[in-house]
């Protein structure tokens, strides 16, 4: 992963910031250059940090850079503001995940580029403990 490519997504990944179209109000995460309505005017939009699990899988054969984390959970989430995104769900055993389970944002290590390369971070979600 090149440093500029990582750096330009930092804010969006670390703080869950997307964009909202100033014309039609459509929300995007990640951001998009052109809205479905044709507009190119956007303002930053902060996503909700809590949501629920709609569906999930357990990755057992991982892509390069993710091998040491298997098995890990990747879920389709719906946040409290209605935005959907894909995210790892951590701090829970695969067997304990349920549809509708409430989860919250957490910042975690995602992968690292070998011994001397970039250590990459990003959002993951964890169960909300009452």
């Amino acid at each position: 992963m090149s440093v500029p490519r990582y750096w330009r997504e930092e804010k969006s990944r670390y703080r869950l910031v997307g964009e909202e179209c100033t014309k039609c109000g459509a929300k995007y995460y990640p951001k998009t250059p052109v809205c479905g309505c044709g507009s190119t005017e956007f303002k930053p939009y902060k996503l909700a940090e809590k949501g629920k699990v709609l569906s999930w899988t357990v990755i057992r054969n991982a892509p390069l850079g993710y091998e040491r984390f298997v098995p890990y959970i990747v879920a389709l989430l719906e946040l409290d503001d209605g935005i959907r995104l894909l995210s790892q769900v951590v701090d829970v055993e695969p067997e304990a995940v349920k549809a509708g389970m409430k989860v919250e944002f957490t910042l975690r290590k995602v992968t690292e580029d070998g011994q001397a390369g970039l250590i990459q971070y990003g959002y993951k979600f964890r169960p909300i403990v009452d």
Partner: protein
């Protein structure tokens, strides 16, 4: 617009060809297609390939494959549309002939996946997904299908076994197929006891790593005797991420490409005699059947389990084993589907022949539906 027909087809056996490189595989398939057509003159070459840039580090695929078939100098370009590269390259070839710009267009697909370890191939396949927010989560193509699989079961009450039947049905059709990667039966018990790949999808529900090449020669219908006419060739795309889709269980790209194809060819699903769909995993096959409008949404898995897609069923599907059993050398897969459909319409499918097959359809899909190409062919 000119009428376009298939003049010739060719393909290699699908498998792990340790001793052969992608150029050799490509040449075998394309030369076979030219020989089948008894026509050696070509105006344009399209190469369908998804991962050569990752797996072999090879770009300029057009020039290198033109050279490999002994025709350096030929206009040639690679078409990449993820796992739908084969179907989309065929669509471009179709347009070249239909428009009158070219007369004879050769489209060949090739993928050489066995050169790398599984993790590298998994990463390359995930290259067809959005990289910064989807692949970054560590999800794989199979993982995305698995998320849809669980949603599907939850929404429609289909059991994992009903969905798993798609793999068993594909294998039934591969028995005796000389070019198939896995030409043997696979019982539903073996499917459902195989290890988890990405829960709830099991290993035996997934297409495997494969090498192979397939090719089709297209030309003007009025210059081809006993050709198989292309009555519709369409392409549509969708949001890459399933999170961005309003209804994740509806593959809009498949729906759009199919609706348009039915309209252009002036046929309905019930007119289709033979069908090839993209069963990269079982659930991909089920959703495809539904969004191509063969089955009502939510009924696909149940109907496949009951036998609706077998040779004697309502819509004979994946008649040489599909991606699961014939194999999935990704960039070539869409062209295997078309070549196999041509065999059926010519009445040359041997023990796999569906009697009286006149109209066939092939669906080539990338990822979990980000791109879809639909082709309708007809015996004239």
């Amino acid at each position: 617009m000119r009428r376009v027909a298939v003049a010739g087809i060719g393909f290699t056996k699908v498998g792990e060809h340790w001793d052969r490189n992608f150029k050799e595989l490509f040449a075998e398939a394309t030369l076979a297609a030219l020989k089948d057509a008894n026509h050696m003159e070509i105006d344009q070459l399209y190469v369908a390939n998804m991962m050569g840039a990752h797996l072999q580090g090879q770009l300029s695929m057009g020039a290198i494959t033109a050279e490999a078939i002994g025709k350096p100098g030929l206009p040639a370009v690679r078409i990449e549309a993820g796992q739908a590269s084969g179907g989309v390259a065929f669509h471009e070839a179709f347009k070249a002939v239909a428009s009158g710009i070219n007369d004879w267009v050769l489209v060949g697909g090739v993928e050489k996946m066995s050169d790398l370890l599984p993790e590298a191939v998994t990463s390359a396949l995930a290259g067809a997904e959005e990289q910064d927010y989807t692949a970054y989560t560590g999800v794989t193509k199979t993982g995305l299908s698995a998320i849809l699989h669980r949603l599907y079961s939850h929404e429609f009450g289909a059991t994992p076994e009903e969905i798993g039947w798609f793999a068993a049905r594909s294998h039934d059709n591969a028995v005796g197929v000389a070019h198939a990667q896995y030409p043997f039966k696979l019982s539903i018990e073996r499917v459902m006891t195989s290890p988890m790949e990405a829960d709830p999808i099991r290993m035996m529900e997934c297409a495997a790593v494969a090498d192979g090449a397939a090719a089709v020669l297209l030309g003007p219908a009025d210059k081809i005797e006993a050709g198989i006419e292309i009555t519709a060739s369409t392409v549509a795309t969708d949001h890459l991420s399933i999170a961005a889709r309003k209804h994740p269980l509806t593959l809009e790209a498949v729906k759009k490409a199919a609706t348009k194809a039915y309209e252009i060819a002036k046929v309905e699903p019930r007119d289709i005699d033979v069908l090839e769909v993209t069963d990269d995993t079982t659930i991909d096959g089920v959703l495809s059947l539904e969004d191509l409008d063969f089955f009502e949404k939510g009924m696909g898995a149940k109907l496949v389990a009951q036998g609706a897609t077998t040779r004697t069923g309502e819509i004979p599907t994946n008649n040489f084993g599909g991606l699961k059993a014939r194999g999935n050398p990704v960039g070539a897969t869409g062209l295997y589907q078309i070549a196999e459909t041509v065999l059926q319409l010519r009445g040359k499918a041997g023990s796999n022949q569906i009697p009286e097959a006149k109209i066939g359809m092939a669906q080539s899909m990338a990822g979990v539906g980000s791109t879809c190409a639909v082709t309708i062919l007809r015996r004239v």
